[in-house]
């Protein structure tokens, strides 16, 4: 187990290093670093000072090491626009994005698993086919377009749901959250559903395929021979078996939810870090962009790492093998 952990940890480290190099090369080497990193409104003296401070006169590899050291300390410089630490800005916006992503994940699971089970149990039925048709649409329709259609229908035409912002927020353990107030919930519903759309389709497919495969297994036949009710067979015997791969995939998808939140946050004016990224790109606020990219990449690597460990904890077969070793 320890060997496994260490190896995964090292792999994660390598991926992080590669990504940091990519961002570094992109921001520092391809563009003119002076343009990118120094406020265009500063005078020559300030430019020289900043260049010296950033070490742009030093050789390339040394610059990268300095960048790396500062990045490890969470120091990406100050935002040109807001004047405060770029990392602080990201951290400030992160709870909103996380709330949105978690809500989307919940929706994907709560809708996707029952629908997938249904379609898996009745693959030939009209309802089963309809569910699969919807999941194909969910895969191929551009998320932002569906978001627009949702706004058009529920905000503009029907006036049921608000189209932007987080609504009333309350503090939960020091973080602002929308889901505890009715108003906040109404604001959360549509963006979360929009973000979840792709994942719902994914969960439906996984669950359906898993169910169909599980139904052919001998243990299901044996469970029927034991006289168990179909509710127990599907709800315990089948579900518990297919849940392991589904949980793994859903866990891995959490990172991509955060990445895709960029789109949803922009449509629904959700004040998360994705919206901040787009604003920063448009305003050429490079320190914030760099801070965002490296934060999300780190989150990604962290999630992959945690899911790997979770997977080995979830499956009794793997779990006990590890104990034995």
């Amino acid at each position: 187990m320890l060997v496994f952990l260490l190896r995964r940890l090292m792999q994660s480290g390598v991926v992080l290093l590669v990504m940091s190099l990519l961002v570094f090369v992109g921001v520092y080497a391809i563009g003119n670093p002076v343009d990118i990193l120094i406020n265009p409104e500063s005078d020559q003296a300030e430019i020289d000072r900043t260049m010296a401070a950033l070490g742009l006169d030093k050789p390339f590899w040394l610059q990268y090491l300095i960048f790396l050291r500062q990045a490890l300390g969470g120091d990406f410089g100050n935002s040109f626009v807001h004047g405060t630490s770029a990392m602080q800005l990201i951290i400030h916006r992160m709870p909103a994005t996380l709330e949105l992503a978690v809500a989307a994940l919940l929706i994907a699971v709560l809708l996707g698993i029952p629908l997938g089970l249904w379609a898996g149990l009745r693959p030939e039925s009209r309802s089963g086919r309809a569910i699969m048709g919807l999941s194909i649409l969910g895969f191929s329709l551009p998320t932002f377009w569906v978001g627009l259609m949702l706004i058009m229908l529920f905000s503009v035409q029907l006036g049921w749901l608000p189209s932007n912002g987080r609504g009333t927020v309350t503090e939960v353990m020091g973080f602002p959250a929308s889901f505890l107030t009715w108003d906040g919930l109404k604001h959360l519903l549509m963006p979360a559903f929009n973000l979840a759309l792709f994942k719902i389709s994914l969960v439906i497919r996984l669950t359906r395929a898993g169910t169909q495969e599980a139904l052919l297994q001998d243990y299901v036949r044996f469970a029927r021979a034991k006289g168990l009710s179909s509710a127990r067979i599907v709800g315990v015997h089948v579900l518990k078996n297919i849940l392991i791969p589904i949980v793994t995939v859903i866990g891995l998808e959490f990172g991509s939810l955060i990445a895709f939140a960029v789109v949803t946050e922009s449509i629904f004016a959700w004040p998360g870090m994705g919206k901040l990224l787009i604003e920063s790109i448009n305003l050429l606020d490079r320190p914030v962009v760099v801070a965002y990219l490296l934060t999300v990449v780190s989150l990604f690597v962290l999630i992959n790492f945690v899911v790997d460990i979770l997977y080995s904890l979830l499956d009794p077969r793997i779990r006990l093998q590890n104990q034995a070793n």
């Binding site: 961002v23 627009l148 990172g255 960029v262 789109v263």
Partner: protein
């Protein structure tokens, strides 16, 4: 041609998809000839015709008698704008896919044929890249590169190449063990000749299917990025940019400026997906025999 129609004769939905796709592509190609107005010639626009709902009669704009799909805030005929937007969306999607196809295919062939360190290096790179969502990769690149047609093509290229490399490699791994490659080697043919004349054609079918699906994904991603304002510049109004322009008006009930380009985009993406799906069945040799 007859064969193509035969292939599509099984399913009504796929027939419709093929028809829609052909119409959209023809419309995009013929945009300058069939659109009532050149939407980017400012002389042809009249600001007084701005934001007219679908079906309105034109007052002053040249060429346009009636705005069947309404007009945008500049008095631009939406139907014309959509035809021109389709041109741009298709150009960006197809060209980035072709570039990535050539690059990924070559790397995949090399990796599959030679194996060893080269294979490990290429595939590791592809694996790392594929573990991140496409949109994140594109965001990194666009944040670094800035806006522009060339830049978004670069970003879409970077997002796609790994799919082709991986698909080609797995096909090449299977093919290189077959006798005809051995025979070609014994004949003393040069390595490039073996790679491109013998190995390549046999690895092509699965890659073509992936590419067909990827065109739709690339168009969708470009539209998304342009909608966010970080894709194409305002001078190259793709469908995504048109939708983005109409977004503020959608909130106040003037739906058509966003809605119709959106419908065009969705029709394009869904029809490509359906046709690509059919293509997969046709090119799959295992299914073909049945």
């Amino acid at each position: 041609m007859k064969k193509i129609l035969e292939v599509f004769s099984h399913s009504r939905i796929e027939q419709v998809a093929l028809l829609v796709l052909v119409l959209l592509v023809l419309g995009a190609l013929a945009a300058p000839f069939i659109s009532p107005q050149n939407p980017y010639d400012l002389a042809q626009l009249n600001i007084q015709d701005g934001r007219l709902p679908p079906g309105s009669t034109a007052s002053l704009s040249e060429g346009v008698q009636r705005y069947w799909l309404g007009s945008d805030d500049q008095g631009r005929d939406m139907f014309s704008a959509i035809l021109y937007g389709l041109r741009i969306s298709l150009t960006v999607g197809v060209s980035s896919t072709l570039l990535a196809l050539v690059f990924g295919l070559s790397l995949g062939l090399l990796a599959g044929y030679f194996g060893g360190r080269l294979d490990t290096l290429i595939m590791r790179l592809a694996d790392i890249q594929l573990s991140f969502p496409a949109i994140l990769i594109a965001l990194v690149l666009l944040a670094v590169l800035g806006q522009g047609v060339g830049k978004i093509i670069t970003a879409l290229f970077a997002v796609q190449w790994a799919y082709y490399a991986r698909t080609t490699r797995s096909a090449a791994l299977v093919e290189r063990r077959k006798e005809y490659i051995e025979a070609a080697r014994l004949l003393g043919l040069s390595t490039p000749r073996i790679l491109f004349r013998h190995l390549l054609p046999n690895c092509l079918p699965p890659v073509i299917v992936v590419a067909a699906l990827q065109v739709a994904a690339a168009i969708s991603l470009e539209a998304t990025l342009s909608f966010l304002g970080i894709g194409l510049p305002i001078t190259e109004p793709s469908l995504g940019l048109l939708i983005s322009n109409g977004f503020q008006y959608l909130l106040v009930g003037m739906y058509w400026i966003s809605f119709f380009p959106g419908i065009a985009l969705v029709l394009l993406i869904v029809s490509i997906n359906l046709v690509a799906d059919r293509l997969r069945d046709v090119l799959n040799p295992r299914l073909q025999k049945q």
